[in-house]
């Protein structure tokens, strides 16, 4: 499995895209769809091919200032690695 580093640029894998409605967005992929809300949605909106992992973590840290040092990075990493194993996110 490819390693996710600070310099990686996570983005939607081939055949994966946003769907649903603005109020209830879903990520569509070949076998199904996942509803994403809250932080998950914020992370995936940043996976548009413009930001590195380090930049995504930094943006989230600015947004959630109370979080413990390092916790956000660990959570983002776990989230994106899970989606990578499902072939929804590439990096």
């Amino acid at each position: 499995m490819a390693e996710l580093t600070d310099a990686s640029i996570p983005k939607f894998a081939a055949g994966c895209r946003w769907g649903g409605t603005t109020e209830a967005p879903v990520v569509l992929f070949p076998e199904g769809a996942i509803r994403v809300e809250g932080t998950g949605r914020i992370i995936l909106e940043l996976c548009d091919g413009h930001f590195t992992l380090a930049e995504i973590v930094q943006k989230l840290e600015e947004q959630f200032m109370l979080a413990t040092q390092g916790k956000i990075r660990a959570d983002v990493l776990t989230f994106l690695e899970q989606l990578h194993a499902k072939r929804i996110i590439d990096y």
């Binding site: 081939a14 895209r17 199904g32 769809a33 072939r87």
Partner: protein, 380 residues
């Protein structure tokens, strides 16, 4: 009442292949009965309004419809995710580029075996070499602005299951995003040919180990999905996620069914999109309500803890094996008629030999294999 999540559109039953496990019904729909372009586009729009997210364009061979690009364009305008399930026969490099351009999201390309002779023997057609070439063209659309997902699909049965390791290696070389390794499901043509197709327990156990090893090796690179053969399971599958709960299928003539096989159940009236709206058919038609919920269930299902997971198994399989569509799926070890499945699994394995097919016309192949299996034929 849940919304349907996916629509399976069998846009034609015409197909240049003759696969012996085809999931189409034995009674195929002819070309002159097929829905027209505008009718399909209306259906896609109604389906999206009903909450459907995924559209699976299948057949027969969907490429046999010259209006396929129009259908994909219309489906995307209705905000549906579009998946093309195909043998690849009829797809040139130019036509592929056109389908990708109009918004095709995902292509699922079938393979029959690891070597050309064997694959063509199973398909009853010279198809394998073109599929390999097509896979290369599909990969060219992985780096464009329109990026299409690529899945290879292999239907597994007694005649190819021992080549699974070679098959996975060959498919890996085509660099798909996903591999679907689907054991044949015994309906339609596959049921007709079951004595030649059902794998033995020993074959299945080896195949499961092969797939697990491949999953480990390819993690993060190729996702592998395996559909196991329910005849060897202890409990039935939750067929289609339950009758009329998640999916609807529309046949080439516009009949709406809860699955591929339900047309075999006698006494059922499946409504047609030419006469009724999709919304009414899903919500209120008698056919879709028939096996929803638990009212119809016999014992042991009715008092079983598993009934909310497997919904009593598959209604079509219950009918095909027991003659009663309301019976407990005989795959279940708790079913009164479970011995029907046990007997089928115990039958002696017959490993066929593939005759030389290069250049042999289909009718010759058909004659040579008569008594071993029946090839799927094309609708009139």
């Amino acid at each position: 009442m849940p919304n349907p999540l996916a629509l399976i559109a069998e846009i034609t039953h015409r197909c240049p292949l003759h696969c012996v496990y085809c999931s189409n019904p034995l009674q195929l729909t002819s070309r002159k009965e097929e829905l027209e372009t505008a009718e399909w586009l209306r259906i896609f729009s109604e389906a999206a309004a009903l909450g459907v997210l995924h559209l699976h364009l299948t057949g027969g061979e969907p490429l046999a419809r010259p209006d396929l690009a129009e259908l994909i364009t219309g489906a995307r305008q209705s905000r549906l995710y579009t998946n093309l399930i195909t043998s690849g026969i009829g797809l040139s490099r130019e036509r592929l580029a056109q389908l990708v351009e109009v918004g095709l999201d995902h292509i699922q390309l079938s393979f029959q075996d690891s070597t050309e002779g064997h694959a063509n023997w199973i398909a009853g057609a010279r198809a394998h070499a073109h599929k390999v070439e097509l896979a290369g063209w599909i990969r060219e659309h992985q780096s464009d602005k329109h990026r299409i997902a690529f899945t290879t699909n292999l239907v597994v049965h007694r005649q190819n299951i021992d080549h699974l390791e070679a098959m996975i290696a060959a498919l890996e070389g085509l660099r798909p995003d996903r591999m679907e390794i689907a054991h044949a499901q015994y309906y339609g043509w596959a049921l007709q040919n079951r004595s030649a197709l059902l794998p033995t327990r020993a074959q299945l156990d080896r195949a499961v180990a092969v797939v697990q090893a491949a999953e480990e090796r390819l993690r993060g690179q190729v996702r592998i999905d395996m559909v196991v053969p329910d005849y060897h399971a202890r409990f039935p599958k939750a067929c289609m996620g339950g009758w009329g709960r998640q999916l609807m299928l529309i046949d080439p003539a516009g009949r709406v069914l809860p699955c591929h096989a339900a047309g075999v159940i006698p006494g059922m009236r499946f409504n047609n999109v030419r006469e009724h709206g999709l919304d009414w058919i899903w919500q209120s038609s008698e056919a879709f309500q028939k096996f929803r919920g638990e009212e119809w269930m016999p014992e042991p299902c009715r008092s079983c803890d598993r009934r909310k997971e497997d919904f009593g198994g598959c209604r079509c399989q219950a009918f095909l094996l027991t003659g009663d569509a309301s019976a407990t799926d005989p795959v279940c070890e708790l079913a009164p008629l479970h011995h029907l499945v046990e007997d089928a699994v115990r039958e002696d394995a017959v490993i066929g030999t593939s005759p030389e097919v290069s250049g042999a016309p289909f009718h010759v192949l058909q004659e040579k294999m008569a008594g071993f299996w029946d090839y799927r034929t094309d609708p009139k």
